[in-house]
C-alpha cells in the first residue's frame, strides 16, 4: 500500500471528506419514513436534510415531485463537483474520467429531448451538471432543432466521431438506440484508455473497480437478452474491459440461462450475487433481479473500498451509493405521486 502518494494525489484528504459525506446518506429507517410520506412532505423532509440548499433554491419555482426531482439532480451535481474540487493529481484524473458518465447522460438526455421535440427549458432541467461539458455546450445542445445538429454540436467532444458514425444507422432505422449505444460504448472506451494497470499504483484499483462495473453491466445485458429471447446479437451490446465474459462466450451463455447462473455463482462476485441469483430463481422477475444486481454491485464497491482504503475506490463507491440514493428518493416520490403503497415502493428501492 502507498503510504505517501508519489503522484501528488491527496487520497487521505478526499477519502476523509467522502467518508463523512457517506455517513449523511439516508439509512433504512429514513427510507421507511419516506415511503409513508406524500410528495410535498418528502420535499419538506429533504429540506431539513443535507438537500436543504437545493430545496431552498428551487422551492419558489417548483413544487411537489418536480421540486424533489430537480433538487436531487442539483444535489448530485453539487456533491460530484465537490469531489473534483478537492482532488489533485492522478486522483483528479481518475474521478473526472468516471464522472464523464454524466456527460454521456447529458448527451442522451439531449438526444432524447430533441428527438421527442421537448422544450429547451425542460431538457435543461434534466441535465446533470457534474461532467466535463460546460454550460455553453449544454445550452447549445438543448437549443438544437434536430438530432443531426446535436451530433454536429458534439463534434469536438470525445462523443463526436462515434456519434457521427452511428448517424447513418439512425437515419436508416429512425430509432435512437444506435446513437445511445455509441454514447455508452464511447464512455466505457475512454474510461480505461491509456491507463496502465500493471505499473501505476493509483490506477490499479480504479481498473479493478471498473472491471467489476463493466462485468455487472454485461451480466445485466445478458439477462435482459436471455429474457427477451429476441434475435439480437449479444455481442452488439457487449462492453469491452470486463473480466468475466468474452463477447463470444456471452452469445452462448445467453441461450442457456442455467449455465449463465451457474457461471455467475462460481465467479468472483459469487458471494455478492448469491442473494440476487436466488431471487431470480425464486421470483423469476427481471426487475427484482436487476435491483438485486445493483445492490450486489454496491456491496462489491463497498468491499473494494475497504480493501483499498487509500485509493480511488472509496470515492467511486460513494458516487455509486449517492446515485443510488437519488434514484431511490426519486422512485419513492414518483411512486407516492401515483399512489403506490409503501410495500410496492419498497420493492423498487435498491439498498445494501
Amino acid at each position: 500500500m502507498n503510504v505517501i502518494s508519489r503522484d501528488a494525489s491527496n487520497y487521505s484528504y478526499v477519502n476523509a471528506r467522502v467518508r463523512s459525506r457517506w455517513a449523511l446518506l439516508l439509512d433504512a429507517d429514513e427510507y421507511d419514513t419516506l415511503t409513508r410520506m406524500g410528495p410535498s412532505e418528502i420535499a419538506r423532509f429533504l429540506g431539513e436534510s443535507e438537500y436543504s440548499p437545493e430545496i431552498d433554491a428551487l422551492g419558489s419555482r417548483h413544487s411537489g415531485v418536480d421540486l424533489v426531482e430537480h433538487a436531487l439532480n442539483r444535489n448530485l451535481a453539487r456533491h460530484f463537483d465537490d469531489l473534483l474540487e478537492w482532488s489533485q493529481g492522478t486522483l483528479y484524473d481518475l474521478i473526472s474520467r468516471y464522472l464523464r458518465k454524466f456527460d454521456a447522460w447529458n448527451v442522451k438526455t439531449a438526444l432524447r429531448g430533441v428527438y421527442s421535440e421537448t422544450d429547451a427549458g425542460v431538457i435543461d432541467d434534466d441535465f446533470i451538471r457534474a461532467g466535463e461539458f460546460d454550460d455553453a455546450l449544454l445550452g447549445t445542445l438543448e437549443e438544437c432543432e434536430s438530432v443531426e445538429s446535436v451530433v454536429d454540436a458534439l463534434a469536438e467532444t470525445v462523443f463526436g466521431d462515434p456519434l457521427a458514425d452511428a448517424l447513418d444507422d439512425y437515419e436508416e432505422t429512425g430509432a435512437l438506440v444506435p446513437l445511445e449505444n455509441a454514447v455508452d460504448r464511447t464512455f466505457y472506451d475512454t474510461l480505461l484508455r491509456g491507463l496502465n494497470a500493471a505499473t501505476e499504483s493509483g490506477t490499479r484499483e480504479f481498473v479493478k473497480f471498473l472491471q467489476a462495473e463493466v462485468d455487472f453491466r454485461n451480466i445485466r445485458n445478458a439477462f435482459r437478452l436471455a429474457r427477451s429471447g429476441g434475435t439480437i446479437d449479444p455481442s452488439e451490446y457487449y462492453i469491452e474491459g470486463g473480466r468475466l465474459f468474452e463477447a463470444s462466450e456471452l452469445a452462448s451463455l445467453v441461450e442457456n440461462r442455467d449455465e449463465l447462473v451457474a457461471r455467475l455463482r462460481e465467479s468472483r462476485y459469487g458471494d455478492q450475487l448469491g442473494p440476487a441469483l436466488e431471487r431470480l430463481e425464486s421470483a423469476d422477475s427481471l426487475i427484482g433481479f436487476e435491483h438485486a444486481l445493483d445492490a450486489a454491485l454496491l456491496g462489491y464497491a463497498d468491499h473494494l473500498s475497504h480493501v483499498f482504503p487509500l485509493s480511488v475506490c472509496p470515492v467511486l463507491a460513494y458516487i455509486l451509493a449517492k446515485e443510488r440514493e437519488v434514484d431511490n428518493i426519486r422512485a419513492i416520490a414518483r411512486g407516492r405521486e401515483v399512489g403506490l403503497s409503501g410495500e410496492e415502493i419498497e420493492q423498487e428501492l435498491v439498498m445494501l
Binding site: 503510504v3 505517501i4 508519489r6 491527496n10 487521505s12 484528504y13 478526499v14 477519502n15 476523509a16 471528506r17 467518508r19 463523512s20 459525506r21 478537492w86 487509500l310
Partner: protein
C-alpha cells in the same frame, strides 16, 4: 522520497564503517548518533503526520466536531519523537 531517505541512511552507514576501519575506538561520536536518531525519528513522525493531518483537515471541513479527535490523531506519531529524545539522556 523514500529512495533519498534510504540512500542517506546507507551513506551514514558507510561513513561509520570507514571510521571504524580507520582504527579509532569510537566509530561515531555518541552525541552525533543520538542527534541523528532524534532527527530521523522526527522525519518519520512528520511523514506519518502528513497523511493523518490531511485526513483530519478533511474530516474537520465536513464537521467541525472532529476538531479534538482530529488533532489528537494528528499528533499521535509525535510520541515517536518523544521516545527518541529519551536516547539523548541515555548516551
Amino acid at each position: 522520497m523514500y529512495e533519498t531517505l534510504v540512500a542517506a541512511i546507507n551513506m551514514l552507514g558507510l561513513i561509520a564503517q570507514q571510521s571504524a576501519e580507520a582504527g579509532s575506538t569510537v566509530a561515531f561520536p555518541p552525541a552525533a548518533g543520538a542527534a541523528l536518531g532524534v532527527g530521523i525519528a522526527a522525519l518519520g513522525a512528520g511523514i506519518a503526520e502528513g497523511g493523518i493531518g490531511a485526513a483530519a483537515v478533511g474530516a474537520i471541513a465536513e464537521d467541525s466536531d472532529f476538531f479534538g479527535i482530529g488533532l489528537l490523531f494528528t499528533v499521535l506519531p509525535e510520541t515517536l519523537v518523544i521516545l527518541a529524545i529519551v536516547v539523548i539522556f541515555i548516551v
